[in-house]
Amino acid sequence: MRRRTYRAGAATAAALLLASCSTPGSGSAPEASPNTLVVSTPTEPDSLDPTLANTFAARLVFTSFCEKLYDVDSDLKIVPQLAAALPRVSRDGRTMDIVLRRGVRFNDGTPFTAAAVKTTLDRDLTMKASARAGELSAISRVEVRDPTTVRLVLKHPSAPLLAQLADRSGLIMSPTALKRLGADFGTAPVCVGPFKFRDRVSGNEMDFVKSTDYYDADKVRLNGIRYEFITNSSVATANLESGDVDAAEHIDANDAITLRGESGTRVLHSDTIAYQSISINVRPGAGTALSRSAGLRKAFEMSIDRGALNTSVWKSQNVPDCGPLPAQSPLRVRPHCTPYDPAAARALVRKSGVRSPAVQLMVPTGAATQREAQVIQSMAQDVGFKVSVRPIDLVSGLDLARNGKFDAFLEGWSGRVDPDGDTNDIITTGGSNNFSGYSDRTVDSLIARAAATNDDRQRSRLYARAVRRVGEQRPLLYLYHNRWFTGTSAKLHGVVYQPDGIPRFKTAHLAR
Amino acid sequence: MTLLEVSGLRVTYRTEDGPVLAAKDVSFSLGRGEILALVGESGCGKTATAMAIPRLLDDTRATIGGSVLLDGVELTALSERRMRDVRGKDISVVFQEPMTSLNPAFTVGRQIGEVLRQHTGLTRRQVRERVVELLDLVGVPDARRRAGSYPHELSGGMRQRVMIATAVACDPKVLIADEPTTALDVTIQAGVLDVIRDLREQLGTAVILITHDLGVVAEVADRVVVMYSGRHVEHSPTAAVFDRPQHPYTIGLLDALPARAALRGGRRRLTEIPGLVPSPATDPDACQFAPRCPRATAECTAARPALTGADGGDGHLVACYHPGPRRDA
């Protein structure tokens, strides 16, 4: 699963798991002002500039100070946030009108208008090295119909566009701040949001304070939020127990279980859209046993007991699955799963004529993934494969994977709300995340047609056919969807934890 | 009254292979301004005897018996604290190796001044002046500048003079010089011996000179004590020991000198004393030189000969049943 942000440190597995540690809780960083929520996140966001931001960590922080046109509810349905309602799409699907909320002000007091939305979207489309350009590629131009209505003129109908506007492409920036800071907007970002940016200590923490300009200011009961970067889940858990932090985002499964046993803490969880997968190099010249024989790939999948993997490594916290779409996704069709059948797998391996076929499983360094790799290794070896595990620094792994210099790669995807985000660019020919080098014209056309129509029933049928075809050819083995945990102090209430894996603290408050 | 009275001095070392008797009942006395030479082969206990006086032996392994009276004060009874007031003030020492006996990290002047600060109430300026005087006294040229230099910047001879300057800084009653010239070239030796003799003249310092070099004895010493295997075998004024040696061992020593052999004319192989020095671990009630002594008789191996007056009188003593000058042809 592409949780690039969680593998930031090449040398992970550092600190320990503390049972209970009620050390005299003087705040870890300089004393946070009272009623300020201290939240630990695993990694430090790269830039806070919505146009350039790439890391998942940035998305965790944006929710607090930068709202989007749309958002996602607990059933993964898209709901309006800065927009007043869902967009009106023309019959030919080539124009999209977005009506904005009224009386909304940016955190610098300037008014939130259609012109501001146009300025932001234009910047996303045109700025050099913009990370949003690809997501908004369907837009040909942005027009301001009136102060509260924006019209998007599209090159072609694009269903996934709405989901993008519920993600980073939906973040709207204050034009006055943009004029003042330009490319350095990320150093002091201004948007619409419950809190506004105050200070950033690189490598250590970020501070936000309550915004009086926010349209929903009365629902915000915290004076501020401080994000602290604690890479190691066990240490974050320890700080939670010692009261140094009020919430610890994205902690490991076994830390979550420890916290459940504690009195002073609570564990929120969310079955997220992220999934774990094994990419298998199927390029013609790959020269590996798995690349040459679909039978061996089938045997490899049949040797993996997804249930046992879940219980032993993840304390049965995740949701075993063999397709990319999350359970909550309205477009999901239950995929046909290859059953765990070691006997049949052994027969297939014998039939393949290759004596103990060699598989090199490349794994980004990290305690949990290492254990997962060793379980898969032992399961595959039971049916006759000879598996070697090759831990590797994440960036090197991605580099090798993209250049096809690998056999199997245990790496998943952080998931997207719209199915297009989980398929396009991953199983389509030439996709930047299509590590296996899989190229199938039928799948390509299925995904393209699904993106071009707004009819949900037809989109889910198209995605189902594509997933089934991938399931047969197995360039990619889906293992499970991740359940993510956020530990909080028992005194913390009002936290909303959506399936996109991002806890929202807008309505959070600390009981006395 | 004699300045220093050593009687029945015993020094035993504890080693892994059992006790070693370095000095066995050594007795001698030292008058004011007198230069006494302790002579003997390597390992005969002369250094152990001398070093036992200021108790400069390794306390963890050496035990000292017998009596050492300095001006009537029994040194062996003094506590280590009180002993520290004696060392450097009443008794001081010059060691054999000038190269290593000075601390390479401190200037020469400071190391001399140290003993003055330890035992006198002089102010820092007075100490500095005294140091320069002392360096002049022992013949170090350009004393004022030399005081600030480091040991490695001086020659062996110069360093030995610095050692002597340090030793006499507090005008001690007794100066113990442990083979002060052995490590020096012959030309430098004479200079150092002159210094020691001049000090005896000017300061009246009594000197115990430890050496194996009979030449040095002849040149500087007033009296001689010959030691063999930890025991004193002959006491005599310097002249008497060369003219009328009483103990066969002393005779053997003198015969081994090439210069004297030449005096007796003829080209003959140098005489030597047959046999080996006995093991220091043994102390039989017998004359330990007997096995190698041409005059040995039953008497010699039966009981240890006492130190008795030799015929020449004036304090010439010998521990032998058949003393007397050379009888053979």
């Binding site: 090449a10 040398a11 992970t12 597995a13 550092a14 600190a15 320990l16 798991l17 503390l18 049972a19 066990s234 076994n254 420890t258 046992a308 219980t311 032993s312 360094t365 990290g366 305690a367 290492q370 254990r371 790799a373 060793q374 379980v375 290794q377 032992s378 070697s388 595990v389 090759r390 831990p391 590797i392 620094d393 960036v395 090197s396 | 080693t15 892994e16 082969e41 390597s42 194996h212 070099d213 009979l214 030449g215 040095v216 002849a218 040149e219 020593l253 081994a256 000198l257 090439p258 210069a259 140098l270 030597e272 004393i273 047959p274 046999g275 080996l276 020095v277 093991s279 190698r292």
Partner: protein
């Protein structure tokens, strides 16, 4: 006035007591003095135990990689004397497997460091001049690089593996080997027997190899007994940071890392590897101390 024969004393006639013993070979005398030192013997025993564990251990205990998904983090039991780890594998088997890794890491990295460091040190000390200052700058450079950064970089380039750890440790050890060998060479170079060999027209390499090197074997032996435990600790540290051995192979450092996650559930898991590392390095250190005292020519009685 010369002091003639007096100094060396008469020889000739044999003293009845001391029958001249036939000459005892040097190494046997060294061994006897070594055995007299209790601590050195204790060290030797520990090292032997470690070697036994590394060589024979894995054959005796079961597989160190077989998983036991049903009995995770089980305490010591009949089947598993030291209990099982977070994937149900037998801890005793992994300790013995880890011993082999540590042995390799310690010995091979030291050997590599010596093979590279000794010639460089000899050259630096022997030729002096520009060769010396170039080598000195290089050793300064390597010393100034925190060896851990070097290891992290290498793990990123080549992927973490035992081979890379050994290379990283060897590189970290080379500078100190070069410095020690250079120091000894400088001293030995000015000795007469080396001057004599040079005067005989022996080639530089021959002089270095046959004259200078044999005279520093003691120093090198002592250096080895210090470098091996340092290598073992280094490997454990690098594995602890996830840069070392590839799973499923066990290394004591890796075991510590995984044990860390379950400290509160099963603290024993962190104790065994730590104790194993400590005892092994203690053994080498004790042996090293003993050898240093025995081989040091100036050693007092």
């Amino acid at each position: 006035m010369n002091n003639a024969a007096l100094e060396n004393g008469p020889s000739a006639a044999a003293d009845p007591g001391a029958a001249a013993p036939e000459p005892v070979p040097q190494w046997r005398r060294t061994l006897r003095r070594l055995l007299r030192r209790r601590m050195a013997v204790a060290g030797a025993v520990l090292v032997l135990l470690f070697l036994l564990l590394a060589l024979v251990g894995p054959l005796v205990t079961g597989s160190q990689t077989r998983l036991g998904l049903t009995h995770l983090l089980a305490g010591p039991s009949g089947a598993h004397p030291l209990g099982t780890d977070d994937l149900g594998r037998d801890v005793l088997a992994r300790i013995t497997g880890g011993a082999r890794v540590s042995l390799l890491a310690g010995v091979v990295s030291t050997a590599l460091a010596l093979v590279v460091g000794v010639p460089l040190g000899l050259a630096a000390g022997y030729y002096r001049g520009w060769a010396d200052s170039v080598l000195m700058r290089l050793t300064d450079l390597v010393l100034s690089f925190p060896y851990l950064v070097f290891a992290v970089g290498m793990a990123a380039i080549l992927g973490p593996s035992l081979r890379n750890v050994i290379i990283a440790l060897a590189v970290a050890e080379v500078p100190s080997v070069v410095r020690i060998v250079r120091g000894e060479t400088l001293v030995l170079r000015s000795q007469d027997f080396v001057e004599a060999a040079v005067a005989d027209g022996a080639r530089d390499a021959a002089v270095m190899w046959r004259e200078i090197l044999p005279n520093m074997t003691n120093t090198l032996i002592v250096k080895a007994t210090v470098a091996i435990p340092a290598g073992i600790l280094g490997e454990a540290a690098l594995s602890f940071l996830g840069l070392g051995v590839q799973p499923p192979q066990a290394s004591w450092g890796v075991m510590l890392t995984s044990a860390q996650q379950f400290l509160s559930q099963d603290p024993l898991l962190a104790v065994f590897p730590g104790v194993a590392i400590a005892l092994t390095t203690l053994g080498f250190n004790l042996l090293g101390d003993g050898l240093r005292d025995v081989l040091d020519p100036r050693e007092l009685l």
